[in-house]
Assembly symmetry: C3
Homo-oligomer: 363 residues x 3
Amino acid sequence: MRFTIFEVAAALNAEVFGDGSVTITGASEPALAGADDLALAMDPKYAEGLTTGSARAAILWDGADWQSFGLEAAIVVPRPRFAMSGLTSLLDPGPEIAPGVHASAVIDPSAQIGEGAAIGPFVVIGSGVRIGKDARIASHVSIASESMIGEQALLHAGVRIGARVVIGARFICQPGAVIGADGFSFVTPEKSRVEEARASLGAETSAVNASWTRIHSIGSVHIGDDVEIGANSTIDRGTIRATSIGHRTKLDNLVHLGHNVSVGEDTLLCGQVGIAGSTKIGNRVVLGGQVGVSDNIFVGDDVVAGGATKIMSKVPAGRVMLGYPAMKMEQYLEAGRNWRRLPRMMEDIKALKKAVLSDDKYD
Amino acid sequence: MRFTIFEVAAALNAEVFGDGSVTITGASEPALAGADDLALAMDPKYAEGLTTGSARAAILWDGADWQSFGLEAAIVVPRPRFAMSGLTSLLDPGPEIAPGVHASAVIDPSAQIGEGAAIGPFVVIGSGVRIGKDARIASHVSIASESMIGEQALLHAGVRIGARVVIGARFICQPGAVIGADGFSFVTPEKSRVEEARASLGAETSAVNASWTRIHSIGSVHIGDDVEIGANSTIDRGTIRATSIGHRTKLDNLVHLGHNVSVGEDTLLCGQVGIAGSTKIGNRVVLGGQVGVSDNIFVGDDVVAGGATKIMSKVPAGRVMLGYPAMKMEQYLEAGRNWRRLPRMMEDIKALKKAVLSDDKYD
Amino acid sequence: MRFTIFEVAAALNAEVFGDGSVTITGASEPALAGADDLALAMDPKYAEGLTTGSARAAILWDGADWQSFGLEAAIVVPRPRFAMSGLTSLLDPGPEIAPGVHASAVIDPSAQIGEGAAIGPFVVIGSGVRIGKDARIASHVSIASESMIGEQALLHAGVRIGARVVIGARFICQPGAVIGADGFSFVTPEKSRVEEARASLGAETSAVNASWTRIHSIGSVHIGDDVEIGANSTIDRGTIRATSIGHRTKLDNLVHLGHNVSVGEDTLLCGQVGIAGSTKIGNRVVLGGQVGVSDNIFVGDDVVAGGATKIMSKVPAGRVMLGYPAMKMEQYLEAGRNWRRLPRMMEDIKALKKAVLSDDKYD
């Protein structure tokens, strides 16, 4: 793929300086750029790299004097991070999945494959499955009976889709993700030790955790449009109703959603987040890496939780949270400050005891 | 599948009210139920849903007046959560794995496949493997040499079983789980910085972490009867002896068991739990989501640990734990209360200093 | 495989006592050892096991009187843990991957397969891929276009290698790992709520998390020589430059490396570690299980972090860290002690208030 600077600028809706007919085949940090690379210098700190690298064209920070770097062409963008979206989309060659259905794929005769869909080697598609138009399904994917995959979906290698899962348009699923595994749901004939511990907040009990009997997951998973799921993430099916993920929500790698979980729209769940069963996550929520959320609670719209926050009770809309257990971020920072004040407090108490009680012991 | 209310009630060992010959094909929350759905209304909060939905039959809470909801038939159960087990088991169609061995499967001639076993497309079975009677093995599974899989086991798509693994009857393995990967075990010729840090509790040292040499895992994995392993979980083989999981123990998704770990019977490990090498977990233990357990320690029988508890030293039998580091739950709750008392304590100290020491500075 | 004690001792560079021509076929804990097992008794605590087991030969602790245990042969090693490396390497039969290319593998004609490489059933290799000499690739692996795999690499079943990934010699990859998935990188046209929260440390804001636009990952992953990656771990490709892992670094199971992350040489990342995007980890670092590291920070050479440490800001070289948020280990231990002193401090304040202020209220 070779693009003119005019084409790149059009994709970014940005202005061209110099010779827009210069062509590039890739992008690079300025110092490492070759003659066919577009140098990415959206910050003045890259000025030096521009002079040591070999790029003929660059994307520059707002206000840069493009001619001073010996460039033949330049593009200037106001919000560089956003420009990265258009640029990388243009330059991404995408995965190599040959058009049509690979001869080795095992497809049930009752499955419907949409026009223009590409299906790779060793794919297995079950009975009654419907694959949308122009969907691309890489090697080793399995899609179980009665599932539906929307138009233009992209399933990378080794993805597992369970039975009766419904997924919208333009879905992107990274390798190894499992959508529609059985939920983790076991019950004892009598109240278990866990149920007692939760009810009593930890008091001793003679109840026993044994005779676990399986609750099967006969619900499904429903996923909206424009959703992305990360590598090796796992989404369990619901018990009766469906586990659900709203439109435009994105999950990173190794994320776990338990059975019956509902995640809203425009939400981001970062790497290794875990959401326990039946919990509801709102719209426009962002949970940082390794965040955990307990079962059967509610996290409101627009909540932001920093890395490794452990959310153990419901969080009202709009809160910014951190810590284990989760606190409002300002509370967490105050708690940290108080923590560091403890040695000083102990000194003060010692001094007071000496003065008042003539007690100079302290250990 | 279509069941009469008599059949459903028999599966639940429950009493029928009304016309037990009414049939259902699925289950639903009351408000969403169609005419062929059994409404699940085991709590009075669902009363309204019963009147808005279209179910002709329902499972009701103990004491409900079934006739007041316009139902034709009803089942009443004393412990609704337990009833879910029998009901979902009845209604679960299970995975679609055709009987017999799929033509594409690659099976070593020395492998023994039990009577009635079903083996899906693109399965690979190594030399000397023994598959029990009526086992079901979905697409893309690999089972390495000399492993044994028990009767009626169900291995979902893409499961990886390493060499010499021994697994009992009625095993259920969700997609993508890896059983019998090599342990993470490296050693340096001289004592490493890590060994020094652990011995000295963090004091500075000049030891170096380098020249890591691999300790191979020549042990195996032994798994009892009636065990379930979640999607994309990983169980490493032992170094010399076997990593082991006792009868009736269940692991959720993305759980990690290190080499030489021993997990007892009737134990539940929830999503993203990690157990480091050579640690022993007792019987009837329940570890909540994201719990971590350090290497080479012992967690006693009947221990319950809440979500994200980090267990760094041994835990006696019967304890209910929470926090990082793990504390008894009541201690953890007390610690949280003390934490919130700190600002008040600082105020008191300030007042005391002013009164006693005529010191009114405090920051 | 059958080895003489002479052969075992040569592999361990250790001295033989007794009859070195005795042969063994495996290794075992002393009490469980059969006549063909080498008993591993590197600690005096195993003395009793030696007498109850049936081993004819053993590896003993330094100073043991081998003749007193009725053994025919013995090996004595000075650093037992290190000896395990040589011993297990000798006894590991390794995975069963038949020589040559399995007939079912789908290999693009433009791919170059090195001499002596073994490729298993249902492997897919894309265009322009280069596989090194004597590499072994187990069943169900996929390697996307233009990737390079070094000599003597061992890829276990179901590994996913994305496009343009470059991997060095003697690479070991456990089952199900995904190398080269897309990074988790989304941007909003205007500043998002998350960006505001990070800038203001949690203050309220009216910014909104929506209109997430994808930044594609057009970078790659570069992995040095002698690296090992654990089961179901995920390594994302870089946005523009490559995500990178240095020589001799080892990752355990379920580890997540975000886009643009750089990990140095000789570093160990234990189970379920997560490193967020663009963070740089130094050489000879050891991160315990479930450690998390925030994005865009630097963890210096020789840092050691205990289990579940959450590193949220940069860590200078050589530190030993623990806790959430991460502290120097000695600070963490001191913090724990102070914590336990709080009830006593409250008592003291109460007594002082009574004495000084005649105030005996305290709650």
